[in-house]
């Protein structure tokens, strides 16, 4: 896509109607104008009709239903029975639920920063050279496309099991903890490794951001005798902060929702749906177990709403914090 890219990131330019009105060229009479506007409204809603139907049927409606289910006891076969906050008090009192929260928070808190650091680090490295950049960029991006597949989860389970490459390598360094996927305490780190392996997607966005930093800034700083670190902290980082914000937001929200890899690396189905001793029992795994294996649809809906609240809180905090560290350039192209 050869169009010009502006500095403003997606999240800033959300409001519409910034363009000046470009109405009819000839002065129209009020009646004609009204008719024209009605026609535009009709056309707008006709074009939008698939989306509107989808929004009502598959998003808004289900959200209302889910909120209702959250306060009921519902097993799919009998009508939902109102139980007030029963699901929520059961949830908070359930050690397995608290464990899944802990595992998920740990996964998000360790995996997301590591992934973004890797993405930024490699983007900075690649940005230094033009030769070979396109090749490496494409190769590093590939894991982001296949990382979510069942195939890679199977591969992951194998290379992190006893006596496989990771185990042998760590033994060379005198670490003898065995394979990670069989160990309740270590399996979550194999999932962290899997998400870090997929650093390519945020890296591509970082690289695009780095290309936008005006070269004159670096030249001026170099003339002023600013060292590499100074230039990074005072020029690069502020200039790419909108992109950094975008990546932090998306990656954090995504990591809260990890499911497939945890479910498959962990073993899936049956007694230990997610890892030995619930080691990879991330939040959505437990949600799946409660909803679809135990037919506790009400409880699972309550869990889903807690996840929504958590994600909304994180999003709100990030948006609130952005005025402290995200620099939007005035009058960007």
């Amino acid at each position: 896509m050869g169009t010009t890219v502006t500095h403003a990131p997606a999240m800033e330019g959300l409001s519409q109607d910034s363009e000046p009105r470009h109405g009819p060229v000839k002065p129209a009479r009020p009646a004609a104008l009204k008719r024209r506007r009605r026609r535009e409204n009709l056309a707008g809603y006709l074009f939008m009709s698939p989306w509107i139907a989808g929004f009502l049927l598959l998003t808004a409606g289900p959200m209302v239903a889910s909120l209702y289910f959250a306060f009921t006891d519902y097993n799919l076969f009998d009508a939902p029975k109102w139980i007030g906050f029963g699901n929520f008090s059961e949830m908070f009192g359930d050690p397995r639920w608290r464990h899944s929260v802990q595992v998920t928070l740990w996964y998000v808190a360790v995996g997301t920063p590591l992934k973004l650091l890797a993405a930024l680090g490699v983007a900075l490295l690649l940005a230094q050279s033009r030769r070979g950049q396109a090749f490496y960029r494409a190769a590093f991006y590939a894991p982001s496309l296949i990382g979510a597949s069942v195939s890679i989860a199977i591969v992951w389970k194998a290379i992190f099991s006893d006596d496989a490459i990771v185990d042998r390598t760590q033994k060379l360094f005198g670490v003898d903890v065995g394979g990670w996927t069989g160990d309740p305490d270590m399996i979550i780190y194999s999932l962290v490794a899997l998400t870090v392996w997929q650093f390519g997607a945020p890296m591509v966005i970082f690289l695009a951001g780095l290309k936008q930093v005006p070269r004159e800034l670096y030249e001026a700083a170099e003339v002023d005798g600013a060292g590499k670190m100074r230039r990074f902290w005072n020029i690069t980082l502020p200039m790419i902060s909108p992109v950094l914000f975008f990546n932090v937001l998306l990656e954090t929200i995504h990591s809260f929702q990890i499911f497939s890899s945890a479910y498959i690396v962990g073993g899936g189905a049956g007694g230990n749906a997610c890892g030995p001793a619930d080691g990879s029992m991330v939040y959505t795994c437990y949600l799946y177990v409660q909803g679809f294996e135990n037919s506790r649809m009400g409880l699972a809906s309550a869990m889903a709403w807690m996840l929504l609240v958590a994600v909304a809180l994180v999003t709100a905090v990030l948006f609130w914090s952005q005025k402290r560290w995200v620099h939007y350039e005035e009058g960007a192209r």
Binding site: I52, L58, D163, W197, L207
Partner: protein, 295 residues
């Protein structure tokens, strides 16, 4: 695209050249090291698929000294008496169906957002962006209940309907950004000539949106191919399973007995995605890069 930012140092004279040479060597060594880590799992699965089952996990050799093709021939028996090609056909059907749905419904919606001035547009746009950040899991259970009440469990409708109703906000957003950057003069001129919106959409905006449409189509194909949770919830007869579910069934039923077959099947399941990536990586990466940047 504007000029590269950090790559060009004011290089002039032999001194600068001498200083740059080791730097560029270090750059290539660093990049190659990362490349090795990135590619290891993929090469591992290729090599492993030609090893005997017993050697796959324990052996550190990437490629076996005596390659066997037994793993691949064992796939001819299918999984649980169902031919592998059934799973492939099912996945292909869903992926192609999804691509058609996304391209049609998202481009119509994006056209309305980008090119038609109608009452309530800003509100709807905000709602659309809101769904972009909404965790899918909130909708999981009520959607399941909905489709169950409509007796659509174990059909492909739950997996496809949303694609035809533009519920993938990311692609709508991508296309809106693209259409907004088109020169306005084109469709304004067409309007003055008396063209209706349908005509402008079909003969002007859609052809010009090709890059965004291709990016969306490829991402949709790959996402649909990789999707695991949707089929896991909605499909319960093995002959309707997708490749992901078939593979999972392989793991559960024969994974220990035929480990090599499972590894070979993992690779075969990845091939379409890898092929798409090799053929279209430019569109994917540019689409990804612009999604985060355009205002």
């Amino acid at each position: 695209m504007s000029a590269q930012a950090t790559d060009i140092k004011p290089a002039a004279g032999a001194g600068a050249l001498r200083r740059r040479l080791p730097g560029s060597l270090a750059w290539h060594i660093g990049s190659l090291l990362i490349l090795a880590v990135i590619l290891y799992p993929v090469i591992w699965v290729v090599g492993g698929s030609f090893k005997k089952s017993a050697d796959i996990v324990g052996s550190l050799d990437l490629f076996p000294g005596d390659p066997v093709i037994a793993n691949y021939t064992s796939l001819a028996d299918g999984i649980a008496d169902i031919s592998i090609s059934t799973f492939f056909f099912n996945s292909l059907f869903l992926a192609v169906g999804s691509v058609i749905g996304i391209v049609v419904s998202c481009s119509l919606t994006a056209y309305a957002f980008a090119k038609i001035r109608f009452a309530g547009r800003n509100l709807l746009f905000t709602l659309m962006i809101g769904t972009l950040l909404l965790p899918y899991h909130v909708l999981l259970i009520p959607q399941y209940v909905l489709f169950r009440n409509m007796e659509l469990i174990n059909t492909y409708t739950p997996l496809l309907l949303g694609k035809y109703l533009a519920t993938e906000a990311f692609f709508v957003f991508l296309m809106v950004q693209f259409m907004r950057n088109m020169p306005k003069e084109l469709d304004e001129a067409a309007r003055l000539d008396g063209c209706g919106h349908l005509r402008i959409y079909w003969s002007i905006v859609l052809p010009l949106s090709r890059p965004a449409l291709i990016t969306s189509a490829i991402f949709t194909f790959i996402n649909s191919w990789n999707d695991f949770m949707g089929p896991l919830i909605y499909l319960n007869e093995p002959d309707k399973y997708t490749v992901s579910l078939g593979l999972k069934m392989f793991v559960d039923q024969e994974g220990l007995a035929n480990y090599g077959g499972m590894i070979a099947m993992s690779l075969v399941a990845l091939l379409p995605v890898l092929a798409f990536f090799l053929a279209f990586q430019r569109y994917l990466i540019d689409g990804m890069a612009t999604s985060g940047l355009k205002g």
